[in-house]
Amino acid sequence: MHTILLVEDNEMNRDMLSRRLKRNGYDVVMAVDGDDCMNRLRSMIPDLILMDINLPGRDGYQLTREIKADSSTAHIPVIALTAHAMSGDREKCIEAGCDDYDTKPVNITSLLEKMMKLIGA
């Protein structure tokens, strides 16, 4: 079973998304902000990270850059989730080191497809 680290500050969205992921057979670990996320990464290596971009404190771009800069975590695929859907968001995500990108509200089918592409399951 693959472990997903879900970084999302909005409680409802976190709860909803984690439950849907679990229903689809994933093990989900949750983090509420950047510090939480980095703490979790010190004790575990997930198979994939779902990263909300709009986070309090360090935002998703910043976190992704840090993750990709650390050799112990750089290999973990990151999918950015953004509510912006502004032109240029995609470029910014990729530039920060994200492996893929999806917009919120999440279309669960398309998100699962993207995840499968990255972790091969």
Partner: protein, 871 residues
């Protein structure tokens, strides 16, 4: 200098005035000599007589034809002395002959210079006579013979006298020259005055045409400095509480450091004795010929100002607005003392009235601009707010849709099938709400100017099939048929894929919604002819259609044809509004036609290869299409619509593609975009005139090579271009520019250049630059010499000054064009023209413009354009 074509040409005064005395002297002298000649030698007698009578006239005419009459005049006196001496010797020192010359010379000097100045010659004559008496040359026998010493003495006297007379004549000439200078000076003064008049009219026009106060100020300063010399000019305004004078702006010799030091030095209005405050309280101009003597100069803030700006002389004017003094205008000279009389001050006061109007205009304009900026800011803020709101709304929507979908799945899994349709309703409503939020976001982004197109090369066919695949379920829902028709090969376009997709999808889903069991047709075609390359996509349906009133409002946001349709058909009511805005951003349009109960047609029309510049400008002013072939583009810049149309018709008939612009700014923008082969430029344009446009074109590297044909009334300034000058240089000349202009016109085997320029320095410096650049340079000081030089050298290129003495540049051009061999010779005109306000004035003042222009043969203009294109 001689000029056969000038009928007013006259002999030099020295030559003219000496003619009669000389004639008389020679006549008398020859008679005397005649009497001395032995009577048996008749030939000698007649030679003497003939010479005496003919020589003065002959000499006069020879002198007239010579190139330097003054020199000939002097030469004449020496020749006279020699001939006279010869006669004296021949007559064995005849005392009468010896005396006749000084007497005549004295008489002639009396005639030429009056009694007072003829005193010295008279004195000299008396001395000679006295010395003759002293040497006891008497008895005065008319034909007596003298002894050798006496004769030598007499002869020496004669020579001294002649030299003296010559120098006197020289002096007279000098006084003539001085008188002419005085006349010229008088002329210059008159010219200055008329220039002043012209410049004040120019300032007046500038005030009416520009809102740029700084421009008005610097123009006024420039105009004034033609007569008076001020080094700086400042405007101070009374503040709102009417407590102090605050510096608003300065022009002239002003450095940023100086401005910084003056910062905050506001003059309290109750400051006593200050020239500034006196101007406000007395509402009268104050003139300080020597500022240091002013009491105010040693008190308060004014003193501090004088210390920073040590003005020698100063002149202030009150600036009155609606009766009250609102400020002070200060003219100052920090280098020299100025001596102004009341009439000068009055003169300057005339300019001040214009500055007052300019200030008022600028203030009004600023108020309008501020208001508009505030409105714009409010609008942007509103759009920004909407964008933020939409974003905030999407976050909870995320949860709503997510949980609903989840519950729906749960219900299905647990077999609670009766709940599934209700969850579906919640989901669908949420989706609709989300779509609405997205559309609002889109629309507000468009309105806040935050959407940027990212064009890419894409296949139209592929795009259409993508969209139809996307919309297939929606079309099937109402049991409609989708038909796709391609009227022509669609090829590839350079457009924003996502946005174009969005537009076509919107149109198709609208049609699908409002049509039942009908046909929806997509008709696509690519129209490519001349400068047009358009992509046209029509979406036609056989749906419920719209009435005319509905059609009118269909593109307004939230204005679905009927409010009830939202309930029946769904949709946000924003799609068409957004689609239209996207099309317009792409430089195209979205239009609709419809008939109630029959169907609607929506037409997207987008110019291909649009560069992403926001639409607005003319749809045909787009990049030239390379596939069309070598169509020559001509850009006509003229503010007169009838002229534009005339030119367009004329040039189109000749197979050119024609673009038009009605102002200099628009013309420049279009020139940058279309890079025309030739630009036809009107001299008199509103705001930015033709000369300014020309300067701009020639200083923009991308445009500098485009031939520009100036046109307007046949004024001297543009006559140069009409005569066929290929380019022009402005004074002061610049080495780089000279070499680049010449280099541009140079053909492979060109090596000879002729510089025709009356100013020695300019001529020599240009010649040295060109020589260094490897040209064979010849030079001439005026048109006439220029023509001769051209005939001699057959120069390939001519650099021609327009303003020259004798034969000016225009005459030179006319004459050069008469020479068949000179047809290939390219001429570059040197002019200071476009900088002179008077020239603008001259052009602006014309009322005959249209008539003149229309009376010019149309063929001439066409030929002119063709000539530029042909070479």
């Amino acid at each position: 200098m001689a000029n056969k074509r000038d009928p007013k040409h006259k002999a030099h005064p020295a030559l003219a005035r000496s003619y009669w005395p000389r004639s008389f002297a020679y006549a008398a002298g020859s008679l005397l000599v005649f009497a001395q000649v032995p009577t048996d030698n008749t030939i000698a007698q007649y030679v003497v007589l003939g010479f005496g009578f003919l020589y003065p006239t002959l000499f006069y005419h020879l002198g007239m034809r010579s190139r330097n009459t003054r020199f000939v005049g002097f030469l004449g006196y020496y020749l006279d002395a020699l001939i006279w001496s010869a006669a004296v010797i021949y007559t064995h020192y005849s005392i009468v002959l010896l005396l006749l010359a000084p007497i005549l010379a004295a008489v002639s000097s009396l005639l030429m210079m009056g009694i007072k100045r003829a005193f010295l010659p008279a004195l000299l004559m008396t001395t000679i006579l006295a010395s003759v008496w002293y040497f006891e040359l008497a008895p005065f026998e008319p034909f007596g013979h003298l002894s050798l010493p006496q004769a030598i003495f007499g002869w020496a006297m004669l020579l001294v006298f002649m030299i003296y007379i010559t120098s006197l004549v020289n002096g007279t000439t000098r006084s003539f020259v001085a008188a002419r200078h005085e006349l010229q000076e008088g002329n210059t003064k008159i010219k200055e005055q008329s220039e002043q008049l012209a410049s004040i009219t120019y300032v007046a026009q500038l005030v009416n045409s520009t809102l740029d106060l700084d421009q008005v100020l610097s123009t006024v300063m420039r105009s004034l400095n033609q007569v008076f010399s001020f080094t700086m000019m400042a405007i101070l305004f009374v503040d709102e509480k009417r407590e102090k004078l605050v510096l608003d702006r300065m022009s002239g010799d002003v450095s940023p450091q100086l401005l910084e030091r003056l910062e905050g030095l506001d003059i309290p209005l109750d400051e006593q004795n200050s020239a500034f405050t006196r101007t406000v309280t007395d509402a009268q101009p104050v003139y300080l010929a020597d500022v240091s003597k002013d009491i105010g100069a040693s008190e308060g803030v004014s003193k501090l100002i004088y210390e920073i700006v040590p003005a020698k002389s100063m002149l202030t004017f009150p600036l009155r607005q609606d009766g009250a003094v609102e400020g002070v205008l200060v003219f100052a000279n920090t280098r020299n003392y100025l001596d102004l009389d009341p009439s000068n001050i009055k003169e300057i006061g005339r300019y001040v009235t214009y500055i007052v109007s300019a200030i008022r205009n600028a203030k009004n304009y600023r108020a309008i601009q501020d208001a508009r900026a505030a409105a714009d800011a409010a609008n942007v803020a509103k759009s920004q707010f909407l964008a933020n709101m939409s974003h905030e709304l999407r976050t909870p929507m995320n949860a709503v849709i997510g949980y609903t979908e989840m519950l729906q799945e749960e219900a299905e899994d647990r077999g609670l099938d009766d709940l599934v349709p209700d969850f579906e309703k919640i989901r669908s409503a949420s989706q609709h709400l989300l779509q609405l939020i997205n559309d609002v976001l889109d629309l507000s982004k468009i309105e806040a100017d935050r959407i940027e197109l990212s064009p890419e090369v894409l296949s139209v066919d592929e795009l259409i099939s993508n969209v139809s695949a996307h919309v297939e379920p929606l079309i099937a829902k109402n049991r409609n048929q989708l038909k796709i028709t391609r009227r022509s090969a669609l090829g590839e376009v350079f457009l924003d894929r996502v946005r174009l997709h969005q537009v076509i999808l919107n149109l198709l889903s609208n049609s699908a919604k409002f049509t039942r069991k009908g046909t929806i047709e997509v008709v696509a075609e690519r129209l490519t002819e001349h400068e047009h390359d358009l992509l046209i996509i029509k979406v036609r349906d056989s749906g419920i259609g719209m009435t005319e009133e509905q059609l009118e409002r269909v593109f307004e946001p939230f204005a679905q044809a009927d409010a009830s349709t939202t309930r029946e058909f769904g949709g946000t009511g924003l799609g068409l509004s957004i689609s239209r805005q996207i099309c317009e951003m792409m430089g195209g349009s979205l239009t609709a036609t419809s008939e109630k109960d029959v169907g609607s047609v929506f037409t997207v029309c987008i110019p291909v290869e649009h560069t992403g510049v926001r639409a607005g400008a003319l749809p045909h002013a787009k990049a030239a299409d390379k596939s069309v072939g070598p169509v020559k583009h001509v850009l006509v810049i003229d503010d007169d619509a009838s002229i534009r149309e005339l030119m367009t018709r004329m040039l189109k008939r000749e197979g050119f593609s024609v673009y038009t612009a009605s102002s200099g700014e628009e013309g420049l923008e279009m020139a940058m975009r279309i890079k025309p082969s030739v630009i036809l430029l009107d001299v008199m344009l509103p705001r930015m005139d033709g000369w300014a446009v020309l300067t701009k074109i020639k200083s923009t590297p991308e445009l500098a090579d485009i031939p520009v044909v100036m046109q307007s009334i046949l004024d001297e300034a543009n006559k140069g271009f009409m005569l066929g000058a290929r380019d022009y240089l402005t004074k002061p000349i610049d080495r780089k520019r000279v070499l680049s202009v010449i280099g541009k016109l140079q053909r492979s085997d060109d090596k000879r250049v002729l510089v025709v320029e009356d100013d020695k320095d300019t001529r020599e410096i240009m010649a040295s630059w060109l020589t260094q650049a490897g040209w064979e340079v010849s030079a001439a000081v005026d048109g006439q010499e220029g023509l001769e030089a051209w005939k001699r050298t057959r120069a390939d290129l001519v650099i021609l000054d327009l303003m020259m003495p004798r034969m000016d540049g225009f005459e030179f051009m006319e004459a050069l064009r008469q020479i068949p061999e000179a047809r290939e010779t390219r001429v570059v005109v040197v002019t200071a023209k476009h900088l002179e306000p008077e020239d603008l004035q001259k052009l602006n003042g014309s009322v005959e413009r249209i008539i003149q222009k229309a009376s010019r043969p149309a063929d001439e203009i066409v030929q002119e354009v063709a000539r530029h294109l042909g070479q």
